[in-house]
Amino acid sequence: MTATGELAAIDFVPAPKAGPRAIRLGLVGGAVAVFVSVNGMVEAFSGRLLLGSLALGEALLLSVPLLIGYLAGRPEPVLEGFTARRPGWRNVLAGLVAGLASGVTLALFVVLVASFDIRGVFLNATPELVRDGPRILTFGLELGAGLGLLLGLYVALGGAGGVLQVLPGRFRRAVLTALGWVAGLALMQPAVAQVLRGIQQELRIWTAPLTDFLYDASGALSVPGIATIAAAAFCLQLLASRQHRKPVRTRLEQLPDRSRRILRVAILAAVLLLLGLLPQVIGPFLSEVLNIAGIFLLMALGLNIVVGFAGLLDLGYVAFFAVGAYTTALLTSPQSSVGVGWVFWLAVPFVILAAAVSGLMVGTPVLRMRGDYLAIVTLGFGEIARLLFISDWLKPWFGGAQGIIQVGDISLGPVQIRTPEAFFYVLFVFVLLAAYATYALQDSRIGRAWMAMREDEAVAEAMGVNIVTAKLSAFIVGAVLAGFGGALFATKIGSVFPHSFNVIVSITVLVVIIVGGMASVPGVVLGTLVLVGLPELLREFEEYRFLIYGALLIFMMLKRPEGFIPSGRRAEELHEQEVAQDEWLVAGAPETGATDADRDEPN
């Protein structure tokens, strides 16, 4: 913060450095635009039309200046006691400048790609980007005209981002909501179209024409569709923010106990009914996507107990998944070394047993380790497990790299679970049980012991928690849930191969719970759906999955380390109450020398 000595400017934030900030942000944006171009994302995404004739790749490229302009146009942070400057042309200007800086950076890159062949270094900087074919970066135009259009669009969109900051809060939120809805519905086209079609087929409600109205034949959102969605979202958000409604939660809390219980049951019933219809409505492809996400969700719920509740950073979690899968395969496949070919349900108790034993085997040696050391050692265990399954030494049992095939299907009485839709129900029951167990354990003696251990191991022990039992039980519960995931995975795929169980699985599950929200079941569910489900749905993203995970992790660590949906503690508002009460205490006290705040902790 620069302290200008000018008293005249005291009403405002000292020395607005908006210019340099806008340029800096613009350069960052330019770097991002260049990066997504050079790593092939823009080109890979240009196959899918998103809005009218705008492809996903172009939309990605154009979202950069909008975002950067929005960020650059943000009002300066205000020091306490200073009046904030009213948003005005400066914000727009900052957006324009940032957009220009991004545009120039990208333009330079375009010129570079047009004049030199840099493919020796950057494989994905193909001629298609500027010279031949679709000329993605110059929008199909000649170099000069394309550059002009690019710069113009970048400046305009940067300015538009800045304009957003000038709008009154309600309108800004409404515009952002509209943008979000348009982007979301455009991206989710395959899912939305399928759901609308499915509703028509299953429930005989005429929803299919809506699909044709919203989406073009190409799959992009049609122009009338865009207009309708944007207008609807804008108006709804505006309406919603007009009345000062109390948050839903406080209104619920004011209801009498009885009606609250009835409401809860009603909501639960409605949700269950919807979920019961879901697989039929969404069809086999989307059911399969949900099934993959569901298996990861089982694992994530398990790891959430180990990492989120008990605070034990386990990077070898995939080992338990593998144990569950191999146990199922060994016991249900007639081809396996055991060769008994049991039905799935008979194998389940053994899956629990094997997972629990492997949880103990990993947990016992790491009892005295914490944090980084624990992470490294468990990482090692995960790899050891995979190498054992793949090894020639154990090949007679586990089949080495060939794995085990003909894993039995699940059967419910006479019904064989073969279709993804049917599998969804089975998986759903497991997930429901796991989620229930998580809630139940969280609110119990053992759950409190885990959390105490997470917060301070030595003190937890001093307050009566036996750390050995607490740690081992966390490992065992986590292992069993992952084991269920593995068992379901094995029967779903119908075979197990060691290469399915590499460290990437552990990392993915960990990312899910970090991004979703540690120790929070809704967070874990959302995290799995977004981070595992979406890439399955939008195959273009598959190649860039880990890039996106990485970017998301960095973003979350900087901006929201507690995750998207943190475990529910209404800390902040209550904290204010606490401060208020302390002030009252101090004010109410006679001259008593030092108070809490200004007394140093001795020693």
């Binding site: 003696r445 001093a462 750390i467």
Partner: protein, 260 residues
């Protein structure tokens, strides 16, 4: 026989002999203050007694039972609870949960019960909750009501100290070790705490040993004062006896000149 006996307790940290051949008895129902200059080994004594640090030599008997070598959780279960000089709560857990953790050793239900929730589980849970709330109510209105559900980290410093004491009390201790309970409190709050410490002994029948630097508290509350210096017991007795003891004055003044 005393409730609590220490014989020849010794602990070395590298070259530093933090506790040096200490003998100490505490009778049932006593309030004992442990004082001494900084670094005298007071906190180390508490750490040794509660099993958080293992002794090099010596014996600790509690109700006639040797407790050296037990896990801290076992020692708590036998009835020795403590607070920490640098308050150590479970910051992200709520005030009530912090205290409920201390009931861990007095309750039994395991994971299966937690998931199946039979009546016995619910009864135990309810009782744990009530016990925790009662321990918090010991401090009047300061930690009750909406504070039950605030995370411990959002408490003021003095309230954190109170919460730590409530947490220790909730484990139904016979001997309570308080490490500088009034550090960070203003004189009015200190007065209040003196009153509470007496009530813990009189109403709850807890024997109390406390480390304190605030001589008003030491004078106001303790029936016996134990003075440590360089890990050795250099004097004990009533406050005025100890305060006029030459070795004590020397220990304090000799050190004060360099540290103050």
């Amino acid at each position: 026989m005393a409730l609590f006996e220490i014989r020849g307790l010794t602990k070395d940290f590298g070259g530093v002999r933090a506790v040096d051949g200490l003998d100490l008895d505490i009778d049932e129902g006593e309030i004992v203050s442990v004082i001494g200059p900084n670094g005298a080994g007071k906190t180390t004594l508490f750490n040794l007694v509660t099993g958080m640090v293992t002794a090099d030599q010596g014996a600790v008997n509690f109700q006639g039972r040797a407790i050296a070598g037990l896990r801290p959780s076992q020692i708590l279960a036998l009835g020795i609870a403590r607070t920490f000089q640098n308050v150590r709560l479970f910051p992200e857990m709520t005030v009530r949960e912090n205290v409920m953790v201390a009931r861990h050793c007095r309750t039994r239900s395991g994971m299966l019960k937690a998931v199946l929730r039979p009546p016995s589980f619910r009864r135990e849970e309810k009782e744990t909750r009530q016990r925790a709330e009662r321990a918090l109510e010991f401090f009047g209105s300061r930690l009750v009501g909406w504070r039950f559900d605030t995370p411990a980290r959002s408490l003021s410093y003095a309230n954190r100290r109170r919460l730590e004491i409530a947490r220790a009390l909730a484990s139904d201790p016979k001997l309570l070790l308080l490490d500088e309970p009034t550090a960070g409190m203003n004189p009015r709050e200190t007065e209040e705490l003196i009153e509470l410490i007496r009530r813990m002994r009189d109403d709850l029948g807890v024997t109390i040993a406390l480390i304190e630097h605030d001589m008003r508290l030491v004078k106001g509350v303790s029936e016996r004062v134990v003075v440590l210096d360089y890990g050795q017991l250099i004097a004990q007795g009533r406050y005025d006896e100890v305060a006029s003891n030459d070795r004590v004055i020397e220990a304090y003044l000799g050190r004060k000149a360099t540290t103050a």
